[in-house]
């Protein structure tokens, strides 16, 4: 039975809100609020109530929660990971409660995922009358949504820099997202997916046979949430580069490649560095081997795992003769500085690539 008074909300991360919405509404049978798109206001609101030195994902989440609470969300959620993120849910909830907000909080870090009993118990936070069968039934479509999002975004990443008509990829994709929001079942999804796959592939391109490829790596949040990296993938594409990124929900949640990546990174990093750091190293190695002209690591300011990955990345850079640049983001990062360094990055890879060709 759908609980009308429960309004669930996950903080924004890329475009996965559509998957969260589907599983909440069709699996947990509660309403889902897609929070307003992240803006400068989101970050300002979040930064104001967060510890100054905490990494930026925390601040973005706080901002999203506040904006969602304003709009009537009353059941907030937080994910978990291989670093201090595991404490974030607890702290998020505490700060918000101290501010006087009332809400339920589903913290994935608090769940013992090996015990079905514990899982169901925690799921009852979201909906006390939960029907676990419904949740299980909703999963295939939820996962499919994620896979389609990632597939389409990969396609855009590789081609948007070469579109003949400016803005065509973005426009088409936006239209797709608008329809995805109200998808009811797998059949509808399949039709929608087919239609837009054809349309996206049909967008006229002006792509040379040899392009400059650039690999994009970094911490889980910053590499995936475009606002938090100042839309860097788009900026790189605008220079006329093909952008490659491995980290997404498909490759981490649905088909967890963590083990495979740790193996690739083994020569450089024997031990787990925490969070996505080993993956970052592995992805950089793969991109270097596959002929990327340059690699960019983005990370939240103060992200320990990714800081630890930096010197390792420099070894990779040396061994494979591929430049690797690091960008760090927090609420104070100047857009002009990022822009300047990005332009220099383009000049650098372009000059070197021209020489090789």
């Amino acid at each position: 039975m759908t609980h009308n008074e429960i309004v669930a909300c996950f903080p924004h991360m890329a475009n996965y809100a559509y998957a969260f919405k589907y599983v909440c509404e069709h699996g947990f049978e509660v309403k889902y609020l897609i929070p307003p798109p992240i803006t400068k206001r989101t970050l300002e609101l979040g930064a104001r109530v967060s510890p100054d030195y905490v990494c930026s994902p925390f601040k973005y989440c706080m901002g999203c929660y506040l904006e969602a609470l304003e709009l009537g969300a009353n059941c907030l959620m937080q994910i978990y990971g291989g670093c201090r993120l595991n404490y974030y849910g607890e702290l998020n909830a505490r700060i918000l409660r101290d501010m006087g907000y009332e809400f339920e909080f589903f913290d994935m870090a608090a769940v013992n995922w090996k015990s079905p009993k514990d899982i169901i118990e925690h799921f009852r936070i979201i909906n006390p009358d939960i029907n676990p069968v419904k949740v299980v039934q909703a999963l295939p479509v939820t996962f499919r949504i994620i896979e389609i999002l990632d597939e389409f975004e990969d396609l855009i990443r590789h081609n948007v820099g070469f579109e003949v008509n400016d803005g065509e990829f973005d426009g088409t994709y936006k239209e797709f997202l608008g329809k995805l929001e109200n998808v009811e079942d797998g059949k509808e999804l399949k039709e929608l997916e087919k239609e837009y796959r054809t349309r996206l592939h049909g967008i006229p391109l002006n792509k040379p046979a040899k392009t400059i490829k650039v690999g994009f790596v970094g911490d889980y949040y910053t590499v995936q949430e475009p606002f938090s990296n100042y839309f860097m993938e788009k900026e790189l594409a605008k220079f006329g580069m093909e952008v490659y990124r491995q980290m997404n929900f498909t490759n981490s949640v649905i088909h967890n490649q963590g083990k495979k990546k740790r193996k690739i990174a083994k020569k450089y990093a024997k031990y787990p560095l925490g969070a996505t750091a080993n993956s970052t190293v592995a992805e950089a190695i793969t991109f270097a081997k596959e002929g990327c002209a340059g690699i960019i690591q983005v990370k939240s300011f103060g992200c320990m795992p990714e800081i630890d990955a930096m010197p390792i990345l420099q070894n990779v850079s040396r061994d494979y003769h591929v430049p690797i640049l690091h960008f760090s983001f927090d609420s104070q990062t100047s857009e002009t500085g990022v822009r300047t360094r990005l332009e220099a990055f383009y000049d650098m890879v372009e000059a070197r690539n021209g020489r090789k060709a």
Binding site: R41, P323, A344, D347
Partner: protein, 318 residues
Amino acid sequence: MNKAYLGIDIGSISTKGVVIDAENNILAKEYLWTEGDPMGAVKRLLKALEAQMKGIDAEIVSVGTTGSARKLIGVITGASVVKNEITAHAIGTTTIHPDVRTIFEIGGQDSKIVIIENGFVTDYAMNTLCAAGTGSFLSSQAHRLGVSVEDFGEIALTSKKPTNIAARCTVFAESDLVHKAQIGHKKEDIIAGLCKAVVANYLNNIGKGKKIMPPIVFQGGVSKNVGVKKAFEEAVGHEVIVDENGHLMGAFGVAVLARKSGKERPFSFDTADIEFRTRGFECAKCANHCEIICVYREKELIDSWGNKCENGAVRTAG
């Protein structure tokens, strides 16, 4: 009439201009303070360069701009090349020192390192966060010690036993300096210690993990300080080259790029007399509140930027 090329580098502290001929010879050069007014600074710069160009049989056919106000000044001067300062510095330096491997640059408010292999940039870093390694830090400390920055380097060279100064951060360095002066360290030792501290700070921050190979060229305002130059040489164990026009390398580099671009557009020093205005406002169409800059020539809107999306675009007439 021979062809000439103008390069302008507008930073937050200083503005530099260079005019070169087709063989990269410098025909005119100028360096002045930006004083928080990039447009005013460029007008003064153009006047000064115009005066130097009197009697030289050359005409500027292409302009390049770099530095933090490169875009704005590029619009005003009708530049054919607008380049970031990292690339501009690298191009300028490799033009004069083709075999350079490392560029150190310490300016008034920021510092950079650029690593070059076979004439191509392979790595770089920039620091704008901490003042401890920069020129403004050195001049404020010189002031505190009652010596002028110009004499600073020479005094440092007379020291036999540089004082150790904690260089991690400006605030610590300052209090440590006061402390060392009180317990009786000699002035020249403190000054030499400061030069070492600046170098240590630089190498530990932006130089971290970089493969520093000779030849090394040292640029930026602080490169004029022989004390810092010597401290660099001791720290990296190689000779460090400082050349007379090192502070102009960004402007020179972008002039070279303007020449190589092959794009020629008429330019007149009279630009200095045209009234340009910028107007900034906040887009109110969403919570991003983008700051949009509009540039006007006389009354006419000639360019605008700053909007993150199409909804905030300001259309220029015509």
